[in-house]
Amino acid sequence: MNKFSWYEAKSVEDALQQVNSTVSKELYQATNKAAVFKSGGIDVFDWVKEGLLQPKKVINIRNIPGLDKINFDSKKGLRIGSNVTLAELASNPEIKTNYLALHQAVNHAATPQLRNVSTLGGNIAQRNRCWYFRSAEHECLRKGGYLCYAHHPENGENENHAIIDNGSCVSVHASSISTALMAHNATVVIADSEGKKKEVSMDDFFVSTSKDVSKENILEAKELITEIVLPAPTKNTKSAYIKQVERESYDWSLGDVAVVVEVSGNNTCRSASIVLGAAAPVPYRSMEAQQAIEDKTINAANAAVAAKAAMAIAQPLAKNSYKVPLFEATIKQAILEIS
């Protein structure tokens, strides 16, 4: 790692005064003068070790008081401080009872060691894991280059890449927890240097490659995630999350699905929120699947129709066509888990 100084932030305001760039900005156009945030540091230090990020100063936001709380209120919902660790989320009984998809997603993410350090804010703000993007030898689209190496029809190693919205960069977002958060209709609270706070939906927090290939979320240099907020479930809310991986122990997602529905008495789906992870460059809300299952009885036939509808728009690359049947099966299974 290059030499950098360390600033121990006292408060959100203090941290916002110290920072001058984001990891995304530095990867796209390195300045070597960057002062960037670090909380758990798993993603930030990964970039620094690779030499792709060379910060001048690291602002440690991990110990800022007040960002490490989980508050659940049956009427107001769930508020999670951005410094809450994945381990704290994984063992929280209220999350298990009220937000099952999130509970399952967190428990399938990373390793016990990483969950003890990784924070929720860092998890949703981390950059993707495309091997070309992470390689210092490849100046890809995401890093200000002209090529998406993964997109190459013959030489692109794209077996883990996107099957939806893959017209430019074909990476998939690394946070499988975001799949569940978006399905739960979570919002992200962001503080800026003028002391203002804004709350944006997860759908608006992520930036698609067609809009701006230089970043994966809307965060600007003088902005910091302070909380993630989930609306309160009703007594009819049910959720499920399934992640497909190559091996039994921890791994990155090949495809994960979160389903949050409002069901009425006769097992009819009143409204559905269906999100796919590792399908597109950012977590992908499948309007197609949602529309197909809404106002229908939740059964195998209707779940299969919804899964087919979701995959009708898929455009697999040379080496990832397996993801289409994988998602069809997983979407169907996730819908049926809530019946």
Partner: protein
Amino acid sequence: MEDKKQESGSQPKKAITRRSFLRGAGLSTAGSVLLTTNAFAIDYNEYPVAGEEFGPDAITIKMKVNGITKSLSVEPRTTLASALRDHLELTGTKVVCDRGSCSACTVYLDGEPVNSCMLSVFDVGEKEVTTIEGIAKDGELHPVQQAFIEHDASQCGYCTPGMVMSCVHLVDNNTNPNLEDVKKATRGNLCRCGTHPHVFKATLDASKKTI
């Protein structure tokens, strides 16, 4: 990753605040002379404090490791793994992938397993670090360590310290773990020799011998 910095030895106690130290160090020539003679560096070994900037050059900090408070001269880019291995000569902790993927570098931070390769030594603060060297007590191996020997749960040995740390944490926090619990606890620990079945047996066996 970076050069090993000289350890600060035993230092006489003398009241001096960090600010007055920094002011003093600002007088570069005088400061460095005083530092080398060790008459001025005295009380400047503590933990990172909020609202202050440290580095990029090495400074002396305190760190609690295996029950003993150590003094070490480190840069913010020094990882906890490097601090343990290169500065404190606690080489039981292994660095293999250096990216938090294999968990060979597992140590405890206030009793919880973490990857020491992905933390700055400045992340430690006042928390206590426990390494593989701190697992045996008074010359007695932990039941998990003993069981690893009895069940031949080690082949090339590179993953073993991290594997032991994960299994000890499980056994110390769960009096009656099942196979699934052991698999979950070691899910981050990669072993390329494939010795997992012996690790599982050893840990389950050790759990019966731990109160």
